[in-house]
């Protein structure tokens, strides 16, 4: 019995010790619990939220682009697409078969779908086909009971209302490329489109808007359980252009099959009413899928449909440049308006002979006559007297030789050569004969149609340095603030000199001797002034000159002259300046002038000059 007692004592001691030890051990758990759930609770709560909540971006609707009358140019169209969730169908192939009975599914769609499905987690939707018509969408919707896992999703795609007509101005959107990637999280959204050209590119940031967010609860493999919070974001800003959509259409129609450019700008404000470049292209293919054939067609066409000729086409200005030569001479006082030159049809300089466009010559002409007749010999003489450097200086003041800074990407600078430029780029000094060639706007000189229109505008507005633009409200560099009112400073040309040039241009279009008299406006109440230009793209050999210069019609298209015209309207109270270039069109008076006339007439009709240029609905023009 004693032994039992001893054993019991020993056991009790040890059992109590053991129990106590275990409880002590367990109390460390309490300490740990306290540490995790009280001291570190905030940290872990944050981690838990991060685990649980995934932030998804909601693409904002892109800002629409409208013309000056708020007529749409680029809008967002509801786009229906078929989406498949792989895990909701037992047999993917079979479901796709069933789907192809209802809507057209090509092999590419099928293959891409199967590939996407195998790559992604089975609960993530995969796009089977995009851009469904309303009818196709309805057919799929009706049949959804037989199509497990198939749903219709609606997104937005960009639609260009004017199609080819305004393609160069409005531009287009396309998939995000490596070079577009920036800080904007929107760019990470699959299928997001950014502006690639034109206004779409220039104002891409404001058009984009701000991404909305959707806070969703996800589980550990990323499946969305439910939406917790939604912020719709900020839709893109609407861009109102100075463009007149219908006038643009008119200009494009008037250019017809020609490869050419028409620009119309407001001479006071720089608002660009027309920026037409033909041929055009369909801008929607860039966002919805370009076929190889169409791409080939666009890039191989010698008429360069992708090129915005108004800002990126560079042409020798031809006789339209005589306005600058005259201004430089008169402004510098080298010649007076009464300066007379006798044109025999050609002039010799050293061994070279320089010809007038009129065989036999114009006889004796003063400055006014020289402009009206567009006499080459007269301007050879004036150019020789004033020198190329002064001519170049004046031309630059009127916008030639450097980009004008219009709010559109891809503007080219043209070229306004002078003696320094020649020496610096070729290493050969400027030759006197080159001054003569420059005097009639040939040789090295290059100008874009927009530069020519601005040149005409600055002549018409009395030498004010108007700068063209396309967006009515946004002009500052960041494209975020409102535009400051047009405050353009004088470029520096005497009023008297400008008057001579303006009068000369009036005669060109209204004097029976004027080179564009045939393309005058006959309708009462409307008028225009202008200057024709024909720029040679080939060299006329001595032999050809002896045997008679070949007519344009007899030449292959690429060798024909460019036809040019600059003008302004009306005469009494100038408001619009216009430039027309028809590539390889032939003579400026025959081809370019009539187009300019029609466009300027239509412009005046649509925008009555008394009172400010119309914004909002024009009276009676559209119903």
């Amino acid at each position: 019995m004693y032994r039992d007692y001893v054993q019991f004592r020993a056991f009790s001691r040890r059992a109590v010790l053991l129990g106590g030890a275990q409880l002590a051990l367990a109390s460390t758990l309490i300490g740990r619990l306290y540490y995790l759930q009280v001291i570190e609770a905030d940290r872990y709560k944050k981690l838990s939220e991060e685990n649980r909540i995934s932030l998804r971006l909601v693409p904002p609707p892109r800002g629409v682009i409208v013309d000056r009358f708020s007529k749409p140019l680029a809008v967002n169209k509801q786009n229906y697409r078929v989406v498949m969730v792989a895990e909701q169908t037992a047999d993917l192939e079979q479901t796709l078969d069933a789907l192809s009975q209802i809507i057209q599914l090509n092999d590419y769609d099928r293959r891409r779908t199967l590939k996407e499905v195998s790559r992604r987690r089975p609960f993530l939707p995969v796009i089977v086909r995009e851009n469904l018509t309303w009818e196709e969408m309805a057919r799929v919707e009706v049949n959804t009971p037989d199509l497990p896992g198939v749903t219709i999703e609606s997104g937005q795609s960009r639609e260009y209302v004017m199609g080819e007509t305004a393609a160069h101005v409005v531009g287009y959107v396309g998939a995000v490329s490596e070079s577009d990637l920036g800080n904007d999280p929107l760019l990470e959204i699959p299928g997001f489109r950014v502006g690639k050209n034109g206004i779409e590119k220039a104002y891409d940031l404001v058009l984009r808007g701000k991404a909305g967010t959707s806070e969703v609860e996800v589980n550990s493999i990323g499946r969305v359980i439910r939406e917790l919070n939604r912020d719709e974001g900020k839709p893109g800003t609407e861009i109102v252009l100075t463009l007149d959509r219908d006038l643009q259409q008119f200009a494009v129609d008037r250019l017809g099959q020609e490869s050419g450019a028409v620009a119309v700008v407001d001479i006071q404000t720089g608002e660009t009413l027309v920026m037409a470049s033909t041929p055009g292209f369909d801008p929607s293919v860039f966002s919805q899928g370009m076929t190889e054939a169409y791409w080939h067609q666009l890039t191989s066409d010698p008429k360069g449909p992708l090129n915005n000729k108004v800002i990126a086409g560079q042409y020798a200005p031809g006789s339209t440049f005589k306005t600058m030569v005259a201004l430089a001479a008169l402004d510098s006082g080298v010649v007076t308006p009464d300066h007379r030159v006798f044109c025999t049809g050609e002039v010799a300089l050293g061994d070279s002979h320089f010809h007038c466009w009129k065989k036999g010559g114009h006889g004796s002409l003063d400055m006014h006559g020289g402009i009206t007749h567009s006499c080459d010999v007269y301007f050879y003489d004036v150019a020789r007297r004033v020198g190329v450097d002064r001519i170049a200086e004046m031309a630059r003041r009127f916008g030639l030789g450097s980009p004008l800074g219009i709010d559109l990407p891809g503007e080219r600078p043209g070229l306004m050569p002078d003696t320094n430029w020649k020496l610096a780029t070729t290493g050969v000094p400027w030759q006197p004969g080159e001054t003569l060639v420059a005097g009639i706007g040939q040789g090295y000189i290059l100008a874009t149609p927009l530069q020519l229109a601005v040149m005409a505008a600055r002549i018409a507005n009395g030498g004010n340095g108007v700068v063209p633009h396309l967006s009515r409200d946004l002009l500052d560099h960041d494209r975020t603030g409102p535009r400051a009112g047009p405050a353009f400073s004088p470029v520096g040309a005497s009023a008297a000199a400008l008057k001579v040039v303006q009068d000369g241009m009036i005669s060109v279009s209204n004097d029976p001797h004027g080179t564009a008299y045939a393309a005058r406006i006959t309708e009462a109440g409307y008028e225009l002034a202008g200057k024709t230009g024909t720029s040679q793209v080939r060299r006329i050999s001595k032999a050809e000159r002896l045997n008679g210069v070949r007519k344009n019609e007899d030449l292959p298209w690429e060798e024909r002259d460019h036809a040019l015209f600059i003008g302004f309207a009306p005469i009494s109270q100038p408001r619009f300046a216009c430039a027309v270039v028809v590539e390889h069109g032939g003579g400026g008076s025959k081809v370019a002038a009539p187009i300019a006339r029609d466009v300027l007439l239509e412009t005046q009709k649509r925008h009555p000059v008394s009172g400010p240029v119309a914004h909002g609905e024009p009276d009676g023009q559209e119903a």
């Binding site: 059992a15 109590v16 367990a26 758990l29 759930q37 609770a41 838990s48 685990n51 996800v218 550990s220």
Partner: protein
């Protein structure tokens, strides 16, 4: 005395002797389990909660039946139970060899037996009987420790081969504390402990790669947040984000969004502490502590060494399992894969624990029976 030495009292006399408070505590812990399993399946009884309840019902009935069984019968069949458990363990081992990979259970048609769970109770039984039969003088002899050493190490080695590190550790711990309670001298433990430390490098060789990784991950869980450390990290996030009062029943985002692994088994405590906070965690820990104290009090009131060892051994084994599980999910010890007793989903564990407590209660019900050291006189 309400029954005599030889006499077997009537069941009606024994029933009031059952520790109904202990039954209530066990039921309370199990109920916490039901609630958590209900939550783990997103507010549904299927598939876990309902089955667990059924098992508890069966287990509780068995527990009462065992409690009413004469402790002497239990003593007599202790080694048989142990031997059976060992055979089952071997069978699993052989099946695992023949079949493929790790196997821990035997399929008996409608349910599965996990021999390692049975072994936890069987080992206590065998050791209790062994030490019951030794006089204090005998215990001092070192050679008497040979038998317990084998009783512990053989099943522990088998379990480790399965591989189930958690259960193996528990078996060794239970063996050690049974020896301690049985009266083995302290210096021998010191020696064994030193030997154990020395064996760690050797034992390391026998660990599977994933077990080694778990230990390494435990030492620096954040080093590999998406690999092996992921579970510990997510478990800690779940616990910590629960805060003082928790996110609410059925509202544990970590658990319900599947960031928690094995939320119905090993990580059920995490889920509990996420949904009910530190308050809930303390409440459950408190229940376990009460069970331990209750077991201790039974052991202290028991008049025979067998009952004392049984009561203390079973309760300690139960408590140690809880400790290992909770310490594991809190990142205090490596992830060894041990369920939370009575709460984690699992049939064998539930059954064996309840039967184990049936033994404890039997020790209480029959606390005043005098049992001679040598079993020969048992036959009546």
């Amino acid at each position: 005395m309400w029954f005599t030495r030889q006499g077997t009292p009537h069941i009606a006399d024994k029933l009031p002797q059952i520790n109904w408070l202990l039954v209530f505590l066990l039921a309370a812990i199990s109920s916490v389990g039901f609630a958590m399993l209900y939550s783990a399946s997103n507010g549904k009884l299927d598939p876990w909660a309902s089955r667990q309840m059924a098992r508890f019902a069966i287990g509780a009935a068995l527990m009462i039946a065992v409690a009413l069984t004469d402790i002497r019968y239990i003593l007599r069949y202790s080694y048989v139970v142990y031997a059976t458990a060992l055979v089952l363990l071997l069978a699993v081992e052989i099946a695992g060899e023949i079949g493929m990979g790790a196997q821990r259970w035997i399929d008996v048609g409608f349910f599965q037996i996990q021999p390692s769970e049975i072994m936890k109770v069987a080992l206590v039984l065998a050791l209790a009987r062994y030490f019951h039969g030794l006089t204090p003088e005998e215990i001092r002899r070192p050679q008497v420790l040979v038998v317990p050493l084998f009783l512990v190490l053989v099943p522990a080695a088998l379990v480790l081969r399965q591989p189930d590190l958690g259960t193996a550790v528990i078996l060794v711990l239970v063996g050690a504390l049974m020896c301690f309670l049985g009266g083995v001298r302290m210096w021998k433990f010191a020696l064994a402990f030193a030997g154990g430390l020395g064996a760690i490098p050797i034992a390391w060789q026998f660990l599977r790669d994933y077990q080694k990784r778990r230990v390494l991950t435990f030492l620096d869980p954040e080093s590999d947040p998406l690999g092996s450390g992921y579970h510990i990290l997510q478990s800690k996030i779940a616990l910590g984000s629960g805060g003082l009062f928790g996110k609410g029943f059925l509202a544990g985002s970590q658990s319900h969004l599947n960031f928690l692994p094995e939320k119905q088994t090993d990580f059920i405590f995490t889920m509990l502490a996420e949904e009910f906070g530190m308050v809930g965690g303390l409440f459950v820990l408190g229940l376990y502590a009460l069970v331990l104290i209750y077991g201790l009090s039974i052991a202290l009131r028991c008049r025979h060494q067998f009952g004392r060892l049984l009561a203390m051994g079973i309760t300690s084994s139960f408590f140690m399992s809880m400790f290992i599980n909770v310490a594991m999910v809190m990142g205090v010890i490596p992830v060894v894969g041990a369920p939370l007793p009575l709460v984690s989903y699992g049939g064998s564990a539930m059954m064996t624990i309840l039967i184990g407590f049936g033994l404890v209660m039997s020790a209480h019900v029959h606390r005043d029976i005098r049992i001679p050291r040598r079993s020969t006189i048992l036959d009546t």
